[in-house]
């Protein structure tokens, strides 16, 4: 009897344990979404100091971005010779047919649609040896003026002869733009390169395209002991200003952009071999609601800053493809602003079930 009773108690205890074990609600196996509100892993950015850059880091020089600006104006010379018995006078009136400024300048580096920051000086085509600038310093004349001929002689026989010579005058300007290269140097420093100062390159008189000859500059020692030289040529800079309606509203939006496209080459100084070559572009944008209606004047400084920063981002991406630059997770903006799915956050320890 005792044994049976003990056996019963034991089995009852086991069954109670089973009941307790099975009474917990079956957990759903699929838990979609990680429920974390802030799943961004904030990996610490590599802190680069001059001390950390050791002897083995490669050194690189980044030149300021070169540019070449071309302008063309069409011009003609009109020569009127008046012959009479007593005098013979000729009046040479040089004319400049003022082409629209945005046609004369193939690019306006300081921005602005009709920038006349690049004045085209007229040289006397009729007299090439002459260096004196004649009174054609009126490049904004819209109509070709016919100057008054100062000669008029009262004589019986007079003949006048007019000769017109026309042609194009083109002018080229070479130089370096400073602001675009600095964020690129920053990107390279963050990837562990030693950045060497490049000597500024000054264009000479009558400079031709040999301004862009990088091998000559390497041989001349402009870049110190750099292992690589990254140099770029500014191909085009464009300033656009567009306005459009915003659907569903009574307003319009004016979008102003400054876009820059630069052609880069990365040269190994020892072998003068091009190790990387790409085109990178960057742009600064500004948007203004109802800007057209209210005569919005955009800030060129802000656009230039944004253009240079986005150009550096693009250069970093291109160099990553060629394994020159290490991807820095702190710079990866793609993890910002992720839209996470939200789950209920019930604190199970605070559950209270009230009795009847």
């Amino acid at each position: 009897m005792r044994l049976i009773q003990n056996g019963l108690l034991l089995s009852a205890g086991v069954l109670v344990a089973l009941l307790v074990g099975c009474s917990s609600a079956p957990t759903t196996k699929s838990q979609l979404g990680d429920g974390s509100q802030n799943g961004v892993s904030t990996s610490k950015a590599k802190l680069i100091n001059a001390e950390i850059l050791n002897e083995e880091s490669k050194s690189i020089a980044v030149t300021d971005i070169y540019y070449k600006k071309e302008g063309k104006n069409s011009s003609f010379v009109e020569e009127t010779r008046n012959k009479s018995e007593s005098t013979s006078a000729s009046a040479i009136t040089p004319q400049v047919i003022a082409v629209d400024a945005d046609k004369a300048n193939s690019s306006a580096l300081t921005g602005g649609p009709n920038s006349s920051a690049f004045p085209v000086k007229f040289t006397n085509l009729a007299d090439p040896a002459s260096t004196s600038s004649i009174a054609a310093q009126t490049p904004d004349a819209n109509l070709p003026k016919v100057a008054d001929s100062p000669v008029s002689n009262a004589s019986s026989s007079a003949s006048s002869q007019t000769v017109k010579k026309s042609g194009y005058e083109s002018k080229m300007e070479y130089g370096e733009v400073r602001y675009l290269a600095s964020p690129i140097r920053g990107v390279l420093i963050n990837s562990g390169y030693k950045v060497v100062q490049a000597k500024p390159s000054v264009p000479t008189q009558n400079q031709g395209d040999e301004y862009f000859d990088i091998v000559q500059r390497i041989k001349a020692g402009d870049f110190g002991d750099a292992n690589y030289v990254l140099y770029g040529v500014l191909e085009e800079i464009s300033f656009t200003d567009n306005a459009d309606d915003i659907p569903g509203t009574k307003s319009s939006s004016q979008q102003v952009a400054l876009d820059v496209v630069v052609d880069f080459n990365l040269v190994d100084t020892q072998t003068t071999q091009i190790v990387a070559s790409f085109i990178a572009s960057g742009g600064g944008h500004d948007v203004r609601i109802d800007g057209r209606d209210n005569n919005y004047k955009p800030s060129m400084a802000k656009l230039m800053k944004e253009a240079s920063l986005s150009l550096a981002e693009d250069v970093a991406k291109r160099l990553q493809d060629q394994n020159f630059v290490v991807a820095n997770p702190a710079n990866d903006k793609r993890t910002e602003g992720r839209n996470y799915k939200r789950r209920l956050d019930d604190d199970a320890s605070s559950l209270k079930v009230y009795g009847k």
Binding site: L32, P247, G248, S251, D290, R343
Partner: protein, 194 residues
């Protein structure tokens, strides 16, 4: 005798009060209850449509299979019936239920843009706000999908019966590729006998 009179008077008074109060009354009904006043479009139809579309959307691939909550916006639901139906109420209900589920993010629709633009203009362009505390123009998030649909009806009447059949179609369209990622429909039939 007096007691009897008193009780009789009491009964008379109470019955007259009851009669007086049996006129028009106001009571709160059940907002979720089935409504069968007539065969036109009613609250139960609205609730059934919104609920079945929401639940079906939650199970659809773009929403259930993506790790992040997808961004959706509402586009137009056309009313192709002959009745007056406010279709934005249906889409607002769907949007509310989806937002409460936490699985979808919604972007303001075209009809709500005026308020958004006015607020952005106020913060960015008046110069009155501290620049570190403003919401900047140019940072709105665009929607990946949009929801649009239509409701149509077939009404047939004869001398005894009016039969109304509604079909509500809803599509989830990818804004970039133009593909329809999900579509569902809900059919409702109501019959009124005279």
């Amino acid at each position: 005798m007096n007691a009897r009179k008193v009780t009789l008077l009491a009964v008379l008074f109470s019955s007259s009060f009851l009669l007086a109060c049996s006129g028009p009354q106001v009571r709160y009904g059940d907002a979720k209850g089935v409504e069968t006043v007539n065969a036109n479009y009613g609250s139960t139809d609205l609730q059934m449509i919104a609920e079945s579309m929401t639940r079906s959307l939650l199970q659809s691939k773009p929403i259930s299979a993506s790790k992040d909550a997808p961004r959706v916006t509402l586009a137009e639901v056309k009313n192709k019936t002959s009745e007056y139906i406010d279709t934005t109420v249906i889409t607002d209900k769907i949007r509310t239920q989806l937002l409460k589920s936490g699985q979808v993010r919604f972007a303001v629709s075209i009809s709500e843009m005026q308020n958004q633009v006015d607020e952005l203009k106020r913060q960015n362009q008046t110069g009155l706000y501290k620049s570190s505390t403003i919401s900047k123009t140019g940072n709105m998030q665009g929607a990946q999908y949009r929801i649009e649909g239509s409701i149509a009806s077939i009404v047939k009447t004869n001398k005894d019966v009016k039969d109304v059949y509604y079909v509500f179609n809803l599509n989830l369209i990818d804004n970039e590729s133009g593909l329809i990622e999900w579509a569902d429909e809900k059919e409702i039939r109501k019959t009124a006998t005279r």
